[in-house]
């Protein structure tokens, strides 16, 4: 079963673009974090597809996909902790109402 590399790339770029649109349009911070997870997953699909079809050292792409998964887990843990702390202080989860650092 050989699926052309381009099809995986088109699929992953669709996921990436949808995730970026979500990160730009959502007001809810948790929704923005979910969109970022979507973008990271699109990148992972790209890495694995390239490592299978073009790389001469096919482990490399998958190792970096594992790194990205671990970093995404760290990012979501810190992000959600910030969201919960913010909700306790400001009673809102909407990004356009959180302007503590704006002047």
């Amino acid at each position: 079963m050989i699926i052309p590399l381009q099809h995986f790339l088109i699929f992953s770029s669709a996921l990436f673009v949808i995730g970026l649109a979500g990160a730009l349009t959502r007001r809810n911070v948790v929704g923005i974090l979910m969109s970022i997870e979507l973008m990271l997953n699109a990148v992972n699909v790209n890495l694995v597809a390239f490592s299978r079809t073009t790389s001469l050292q096919p482990e490399t792409g998958q190792v970096f996909a594992v790194f990205i998964i671990a970093l995404a887990a760290a990012a979501v843990a810190v992000g959600l902790a910030i969201v919960i702390a913010l909700y306790r202080v400001k009673k809102t989860v909407f990004a356009d109402q959180i302007n503590l650092l704006k002047w």
């Binding site: 079963m1 949808i18 969109s35 597809a49 073009t54 970093l71 959600l80 919960i84």
Partner: protein, 173 residues
């Protein structure tokens, strides 16, 4: 067995299509809990794509970490913060249409570049010969990539301890 290969190919394309539909749902749904469930569907579909790319270990990691841990955390955060009742609050900011138009333009550009680029793809025989085993992945992690691997461990422990410190109630601090 050409029939099985054909069926597997159809399955991969169906999975891709379902993933994209769920992804659109995950970023547009007004109810954030439904969006989280749609995102879980996308993540499971991507695990299927990994299996199609012969990355079985990554598919396993994807299901365990993303679907098992990250989505649980996200759903916890949604339950702790959001009032699911009031859907009258707008969920998108005022320039949403601009973002979507820009993203569609970016997507068309990306697809054009991807189709016209001559990727240095290996021959099918070479692709079959260079499959990645879990043992090979482990040797790569603890061989050439041991330094980033250890740095990542430090980053992960720092981030998780930091998350606990940030989310804790300030009783004594």
């Amino acid at each position: 067995m050409p029939e099985i290969h054909f069926l597997a190919q159809v399955g991969v394309y169906v999975t891709m299509f379902v993933c994209v539909v769920f992804a659109v749902l995950a970023v547009t749904a007004a109810n954030l809990f439904r969006a989280a469930l749609a995102l879980t569907g996308v993540l499971l579909g991507i695990a299927g794509i990994y299996i199609a790319l012969h990355a079985e270990f990554l598919a396993m990691v994807q299901v365990l970490i993303y679907v098992g841990a990250v989505m649980t955390l996200v759903i916890f955060a949604i339950m702790l913060t959001e009032r699911l009742g009031d859907v009258s609050v707008p969920q998108t900011n005022s320039s949403a249409w601009l973002a979507w138009a820009g993203m569609i333009g970016l997507y068309l550009l990306l697809v054009r570049v991807m189709i016209s680029t001559p990727w240095p793809v290996k021959t099918p025989a070479l692709i079959k010969a260079s499959a990645v085993s879990t043992a090979g992945l482990g040797e790569a992690l603890l061989g050439p990539y041991v330094f980033p691997f250890e740095i990542l461990s430090v980053v992960l422990i720092a981030a998780l301890v930091g998350a606990i410190v940030v989310a804790r109630k300030d009783d004594n601090a």
